[in-house]
């Protein structure tokens, strides 16, 4: 203040060199141009959580596709009852199950079933949810009413509860049927979210502008509405991949998920329950594998949500 020679309430004019007046509304060309997706990617890759979950997911997928790369021990042959519930020993780092099979090998070979169910169910639910939700929200009318009421009905049956009923009467059970059954009850959630997002995108001025430009209705849906409504669905899809894996393990634990002939973490946990007192490793290792997988997708979902959240974007 002293240096400004300030007089209260006199007519004060700041020296021009202090605040040079810039051209009105000039475009700052020094910044690099970037799309919202590039922006989101930028935000994601700065987060260590993103890299941790991405590396874990990559590893899990590789294990699921090429289990033989990770172990030379057979998971279900050469099981010796003499080894039943045995602790870790050379060549068998995680010990043995009650049947005397190698826990580590079963863990590696069990990955495929769990990941397949999660991935397949997520793909199905997301695809069906996006299409149904987008059409209902965008075209409205009777279609919307029908789809919404139908969704309400499916929504009234909690996913795993419905799956328990259906799985307990299904004759042959494979990872594909489990994924299908879970999707039947889970699609309304994605459809609802998509419908809501489409409704708000549909009423935006840019859609109005496109109509006035003469762009066809369907093209507007595909080019403007869906790309702007998809973000929340991506977040939910990432997270639900993890929850589907948990759901499959719950069904397997109840004995109505994958049949015992299919190796899966859920089955192994279910079978290990009787021996938890004597050899907790048979339960804890597959449980840990399952939890790490689910955790990876949850963490990825968190990072993706933060990156796509417009409120968080505004704060960057």
């Amino acid at each position: 203040m002293q240096n400004k020679n300030y007089t209260p309430q006199g007519h004060y004019v700041a020296p021009l060199e202090e605040t040079p007046v810039a051209a009105i509304d000039k475009l700052d060309e020094s910044q690099k141009a970037r799309s919202t997706w590039a922006d989101a990617w930028d935000a994601m890759r700065r987060r260590p959580t993103f890299w941790i979950s991405a590396v874990l997911i990559l590893l899990i997928v590789v294990v699921a596709v090429f289990p033989a790369l990770f172990t030379s021990v057979s998971p279900d042959k050469n099981c010796l009852l003499a080894n039943s519930n045995g602790g870790s020993e050379a060549g068998h780092p995680l010990g043995f199950t009650r049947q005397g099979c190698d826990v580590y090998a079963r863990l590696i070979f069990g990955t495929q079933a769990s990941v397949t169910v999660g991935l397949l169910a997520t793909l199905l639910v997301t695809l069906v949810g996006i299409v149904i939700g987008a059409l209902a929200g965008y075209y409205g009318g009777i279609l919307d009413t029908l789809v919404s009421r139908l969704g309400d009905i499916f929504f009234a049956i909690p996913t795993v509860l419905g799956a328990i009923v259906l799985m307990s009467v299904l004759p042959n059970r494979t990872p594909i049927t489990v994924a299908l059954v879970l999707s039947i009850f889970a699609w309304p959630q994605i459809a609802r979210i998509m419908r809501g997002a489409v409704l708000s995108a549909k009423n935006s001025d840019y859609v109005m502008a496109s109509i006035a430009l003469g762009v066809s209705r369907f093209k507007i849906l595909v080019r403007h509405v869906v790309p702007n409504a998809i973000a929340p669905v991506i977040v939910i899809a990432t997270v639900s991949l993890g929850t589907f894996i948990v759901a499959e393990s719950t069904l397997s634990f109840l004995g109505i998920g994958l049949p015992p002939s299919v190796m899966s973490w859920g089955n192994d946990i279910g079978q290990a329950r009787t021996s938890i007192r004597t050899s907790p490793q048979t339960l804890l290792y597959p449980a840990a594998a399952l939890s790490i997988t689910v955790l990876s997708f949850l963490m990825l979902g968190d990072v993706v949500r933060d990156a796509l959240d417009p409120k968080a974007r505004a704060r960057r």
């Binding site: 007519h11 605040t19 509304d25 475009l27 001025d205 840019y206 003469g214 960057r316």
Partner: protein, 582 residues
């Protein structure tokens, strides 16, 4: 240079006393990922008891941040990093959380900007006022309830007693703002901080509320720190002005002196851009080389374009391009139960627009002006009446005819943040209409995009950018470029400059005028802002409750308004009585 003496301008203070509020060298910064970003850089201001001081600036100037830092309301990571805020000699920046809580409400009241988001939606109005009264120990128990009613009545809600149990969503914006003013003044504070208290409201409501606020603060002897982007409003309501630009004070002093004799180039610009009743229609001075000529030179992108260009030149000048005859639009609104109510959004509206002219549709929110725009653009269907465009009945258009109509009539919407798809680059946005109508090859479309960017004075590199990287004014230029891509005859500008800062607004209005002269465009200009109308329109239709109540040439409407409503609208223009020094 005439300077009418307004009520607010009469001095009611004695400057020999200690100032009530003195801000010295205030610096405020926000912590971000890229370090501390300064928002306020060395601000000084002085306010005496009983005085009203206005901080004027555009968005991002730091005016609200300055106000919020006084009672420690800075959002998120904001922090006062240097300087003093002396209130009755006490430095507020050094107070503990407990002490500043005593100052808030009690000594310094606060009226926020947006009445829609500043009341808690889950509590009743009465609860939210009473809470303030109890917290500041004005009254307790039964007395607090009585005081609540009194506060609300003073704020202009005469039926306050019956409405205490109602919730914010049952109040209109104007009424909510009155509630907020009531809360701010409930404990008779010595200072009231009013942060753009009326910018979300219609002009006539704004005027009523500001008049009322002025009366109350004068009666209570409250000093007011008034934050606004509107120089006219500031000059009308405050005796002292502080002009802020990029976080700094560029000029401060008595309002009339600053308006009459602005010294700093930025203030000069602001004063020059402030629209007022004394302004006249902008005349395009600059004439580019004929753009149509360029199109010919570029080769026939599209034959019909050329034909239309030729048509345009040969057309008789005084032909009605658009005629709207007895148009009504009725919406059915579902009420509770199975009843439906009819809402006549547009009621028997007729007007016509001549080629190459600008017609303004003026009205407040709910007047039906935007609905007329949508009917004309065929975004909504007409209930009765008809709209004729260049001899064709608009409601009968279908298929190829409709497409042809769409390329001739283009909209530019109000919200520059909502009217561009955030996922589309600027280049794709501008090229979209060309693609939709299959005009030209990819290369030709690319050329046209560059040409359009040049027309709206943006560098060619803009085409790689995305809307989120652009300012509101820049986005509105993109919207205009997109609207021009198909060489339309008519632009429907729905509040196209309302959301912009005054300098940017002036710039866009100039651009629109230039383009009109260059391209022979016809504008339908929809706005709530009469001051802007004077700058751009040839004819004005004033709308109220779905009807056109007055229509005439701009000069007639401004010089001899026939209807009382039009007169009220004109009188409500802030700073309308000032003649700015320019």
């Amino acid at each position: 240079m005439s300077l009418p003496v307004t009520d607010a301008a009469t001095s009611r203070y004695d400057s020999s006393h200690e100032p009530l509020l003195q801000i010295r060298d205030l610096e405020v910064g926000f912590q971000t990922q890229r370090g501390l970003v300064p928002a306020v850089r060395g601000v000084d201001l002085t306010l005496y008891a009983g005085q009203t001081l206005a901080i004027v600036g555009e968005s991002g100037s730091g005016k609200s941040t300055t106000a919020q830092s006084i009672i420690d309301l800075l959002p998120g990571t904001g922090k006062v990093t240097a300087g003093q805020i002396l209130f009755e000699g006490r430095d507020l920046t050094t107070l503990s959380a407990r002490e500043i809580q005593e100052v808030r409400g009690n000594l310094i009241g606060y009226v926020p900007q947006d009445p829609m988001s500043n009341l808690n939606p889950v509590w009743s109005i009465g609860f939210q006022v009473e809470e303030a009264i109890k917290a500041n120990n004005i009254a307790q128990g039964k007395e607090a309830r009585l005081r609540t009613i009194q506060v609300l009545q003073e704020a202009g809600l005469s039926d306050a007693g019956d409405r205490l149990k109602q919730f914010p969503h049952q109040f209109s914006g104007g009424m909510r703002q009155r509630v907020l003013i009531g809360i701010g003044l409930s404990s008779r504070p010595k200072l009231l901080i009013a942060d753009e208290p009326t910018s979300a409201l219609d002009v006539t409501v704004q005027r009523q509320i500001l008049d009322h606020l002025g009366t109350l603060t004068r009666d209570y002897g409250t000093s007011v720190l008034f934050i606004t982007h509107d120089l006219g409003l500031a000059a009308e309501r405050a005796e002292q002005l502080v002009v802020m630009y990029k976080g700094k004070v560029v000029e401060s002093g008595p309002s009339q002196q600053i308006l009459a004799n602005p010294q700093h180039p930025y203030t000069q610009r602001l004063v020059a851009a402030a629209p007022s009743l004394a302004s006249r229609r902008i005349q395009a001075v600059k004439t580019h080389d004929s753009v149509e000529g360029e199109i010919f030179a570029q080769g026939a992108i599209d034959n019909t374009l050329l034909e239309r260009a030729a048509e345009r030149e040969n057309a008789a000048p005084a032909k009605d391009l658009i005629s709207v005859r007895n148009v009504s639009k009725v919406y059915r609104i579902r009420k509770q139960g199975f009843r439906t109510d009819e809402l006549k959004a547009v009621n028997d509206v007729s007007f016509s627009v001549q080629k190459g002219t600008t017609t303004a549709l003026v009205g407040e929110s709910g007047s039906g002006k935007s609905t007329v725009a949508k009917l004309l653009l065929k975004l909504e269907s007409i209930t009765s009446g008809d709209i004729e465009f260049d001899g064709h009945d608009v409601s009968a258009l279908k298929g190829a005819e409709l497409l042809k109509f769409r390329r001739r009539v283009q909209p530019v919407f109000q919200d520059p943040y909502g009217s561009l798809d955030p996922q589309y680059s600027v280049g794709n946005t501008i090229a979209e209409p060309l693609l939709a109508h299959k005009v030209g090859t990819a290369r030709e479309r690319q050329m046209r995009v560059l040409e359009l960017l040049d027309q709206v004075s943006l560098p060619a590199s803009t085409r790689y950018r995305y809307p989120s990287e652009l300012s509101g004014g820049q986005r509105q230029r993109i919207a205009i470029a997109r609207a021009l891509a198909l060489k339309p005859d008519v632009l429907v500008l729905d509040e196209a400059v309302s959301a912009l800062d005054v300098l940017v607004q002036g710039q866009i209005l100039n651009l629109l005028t230039e383009l009109q002269t260059e391209l022979g465009l016809t504008y339908l200009f929809i706005t709530h802002d009469l001051a802007v109308v004077r700058l751009v329109a040839d004819n004005v239709c004033v709308m109220r409750k779905g009807q056109i109540i007055e229509s005439a040439t701009t000069d007639e409407v401004f010089d001899n308004p026939r209807e009382t409503y039009t007169q009220d609208l004109l009188a409500a223009i802030p700073g309308g009585n000032f003649e700015f020094g320019r």
